[in-house]
């Protein structure tokens, strides 16, 4: 007993790799084989003309990167992605802040919160199918309602000008409840005494929102924006299903919805150029890193005005 208790107090500190190895082994296998190795190989692929049919390729130096410079499809896809991110993040963030503040001031009901989480849990494919039907030009319920108030039917998913705002709105519908919950969690960190003090001083709800809520929410908002913008730049599922339905060409009409993620997928699988696709995904990784870094810098995420 004495012998055991002598080392047991620190046993979880000893043991070292001999013990840790067995706990880590399965996850290490998965990480090395399916995350680390592919990442390094993706780097290498970007410098090859890999072919999926023979599953081999030659090292071609920087050819893929030079090709990216003059690729009008690529610049188009980056432009489409930018449009999508601006519309999606703009509407989603504003609506989510509204929902979070309303939930915070009105109700503690778990029911209200879970209802709004429902769309977030759904498969993207289901989301796409629901809205392709809701927004159908002839029979869709939304166009029927627009008809009542005298608006002509809109080709939501099949017109070049509407398709990106439509997908942005659909994903806003999907993610607003989830984003609102993240912001709501941030609101809980703001001391209630500040609002009580504000109320005593005769501040209105709107003044309190501007002077107390927004400034103190900034660190949480910065993190939420990083998460949602990074996610938004990787939009794929809804576009691939909604624009690829009925024998349509995913990314259409006329490339109007070919976001960069879709372009990478099609380059790799449809056009059988995984090397070039890997080079474009490297560009995407770089863009994501710069965006994340800039956002955290600009919004000074770590600091809170509470101090």
């Amino acid at each position: 007993m004495t012998k055991k208790s002598g080392r047991s107090g620190s046993q979880n500190i000893q043991g070292g790799w001999k013990v840790a190895f067995w706990f880590l082994l399965p996850s290490l296998i998965g990480f090395v084989v399916f995350f680390l190795y592919p990442s390094l190989r993706g780097l290498y692929l970007a410098f090859t003309d890999w072919n999926l049919l023979g599953n081999k390729g030659e090292f071609i130096g920087f050819d893929n990167f030079e090709r990216m410079r003059d690729d009008s499809q690529l610049s188009n896809s980056l432009w489409v992605t930018l449009k999508y991110v601006v519309i999606n993040i703009g509407s989603q963030t504003i609506i989510s802040i509204g929902i979070a503040v309303m939930m915070d001031r009105l109700t503690k009901s778990q029911f209200v919160r879970s209802i709004m989480l429902l769309p977030w849990l759904m498969p993207n494919v289901v989301v796409a199918l629901l809205w392709v039907w809701m927004l159908d030009k002839n029979l869709g319920v939304v166009n029927r309602m627009l008809d009542w108030i005298g608006i002509d039917p809109i080709n939501f998913f099949t017109s070049t000008s509407w398709v990106i705002p439509t997908v942005a709105a659909v994903n806003t519908w999907k993610f607003m409840g989830y984003t609102a919950l993240l912001i709501f969690a941030g609101l809980q960190t703001i001391p209630k005494s500040l609002y009580e003090a504000g109320a005593i001083d005769g501040a209105t709800e709107f003044q309190m929102f501007r002077r107390i809520t927004l400034p103190l929410l900034r660190p949480v908002l910065a993190l939420v924006l990083v998460i949602t913008i990074v996610g938004s730049m990787q939009v794929f599922d809804v576009i691939n299903v909604a624009t690829g339905g009925f024998n349509g060409q995913a990314g259409g009409p006329a490339n109007a919805s070919r976001v960069v993620y879709l372009y990478i997928y099609q380059t790799a699988v449809t056009f059988n150029e995984p090397g070039y696709a890997a080079a474009i995904s490297l560009l995407l990784v770089a863009i994501l890193m710069v965006v994340t870094f800039l956002q955290l810098k600009l919004l000074r995420a770590g600091e809170s005005d509470l101090a």
Partner: protein, 341 residues
């Protein structure tokens, strides 16, 4: 956007008028907006149900009544493969309606999501325990390397993984698995001895079976929050690490493991891109997500089979809805947890 504007206008007006009356009006308006958002969140599901309970010929009338004139269960029967020819004709309004083997796709999804959930939760839990509790050289560095996986867009590793699957087929073909010591393991269960990886369950499952960076991160956060004193008591009683993990840590962390398991199950249920890469359109292994996508692609642009599409869509969402009904509260809590951390 208009939502927020309305709210601010309501708030602004409350400033000018009598405070208590204005505040009450403001609260009323805010409640109305909140309820409207809740309705918008669920309405597409109700509308899908209404559509699925209508025959295609009736849908063509373009009625927007909330209830169909003649509710029918035929579309669900049709999607489940239980309708006879007359019923198919009646509900679809055509001779040869598109084929969608819902039950097979459902079976495939259940196999994939269950295998991924069991493996990922257990193995990520073990790794999280090591990172939270064990001391070993390079622990923080290794954890950071794991975490860096969170930053990589999935498509960047899916392309090399697709190529890896083709390589693995070559290696599997050489038969080293059966010829070696490893031959006694019943690989057939995961179709391991099958040469192909593309278009097989193992190809779809394996990349997520052992870990995801998110799962390890999520569980480590939970383990760090668990009081050590019970574990230390167990060590004093002479229990080893495996024993402590199994008999002390797992029971204490069970609610969190379950939360992660639910999130993993829903994520794998919803996964679309990787099966799109690797399932190769094989209906014997394709999950619901890619099957539904293919089903929509095959529909004619004029007069598609909306009633069946919505019936299939609702049925594929049903298990997630059920999980949500049972565990909704826990999911809400977990999001707030991961949001604060």
């Amino acid at each position: 956007m208009s939502v927020d504007k309305q709210k601010t206008q309501a708030d602004a007006s409350s400033a000018k008028t009598d405070a208590s009356f204005g505040a009450r009006v403001g609260r009323g308006v805010a409640w109305a907006i909140l309820l409207a958002i809740m309705v918008v969140s669920v309405f597409p599901f109700l509308w899908a149900f209404r559509t699925a309970a209508t025959t295609n010929p009736e849908l063509l009338s373009g009625s927007v009544d909330l209830l169909p004139a003649e509710p029918t269960e035929l579309n669900f029967k049709r999607v489940l493969g239980r309708a006879n020819d007359a019923e198919i004709l009646e509900s679809s309004g055509r001779e040869n309606a598109g084929q969608f083997d819902f039950l097979k796709a459902l079976r495939n999804t259940i196999i994939i999501a269950t295998a991924i959930t069991v493996g990922q939760t257990l193995f990520s839990g073990m790794a999280a325990y090591a990172f939270a509790r064990l001391e070993f050289k390079g622990r923080e560095k290794l954890f950071l390397v794991y975490l860096s996986g969170l930053m990589i867009p999935p498509i960047f590793i899916f392309i090399p993984n697709l190529i890896l699957m083709k390589d693995l087929a070559k290696w599997t073909e050489s038969g080293w698995l059966n010829g070696s010591v490893l031959g006694w393991i019943p690989w057939e269960w995961l179709s391991f001895t099958e040469v192909q990886w593309l278009g097989t369950f193992k190809g779809i499952i394996m990349p997520f079976f052992f870990m995801t960076p998110f799962a390890v991160f999520f569980l480590r956060q939970f383990f760090l929050g668990i009081n050590r004193s019970i574990e230390e008591a167990a060590f004093i009683d002479g229990a080893g690490h495996l024993r402590v993990f199994r008999s002390v840590v797992l029971p204490i962390a069970a609610p969190q493991m379950v939360t992660l398991a639910i999130l993993t199950y829903v994520t794998s249920w919803n996964e679309y891109l990787w099966p799109l890469f690797v399932a190769g359109g094989n209906p014997d292994v394709q999950p619901l997500t890619t099957s539904l996508g293919t089903f929509l692609t095959q529909q004619p642009g004029t007069a598609p089979d909306w009633a069946a599409i919505m019936a299939a869509t609702l049925l594929s969402a049903l298990p997630v809805l059920a999980l949500f009904a049972v565990f909704g509260r826990r999911l809400v809590d977990s999001i707030q947890f991961s949001g604060i951390k």
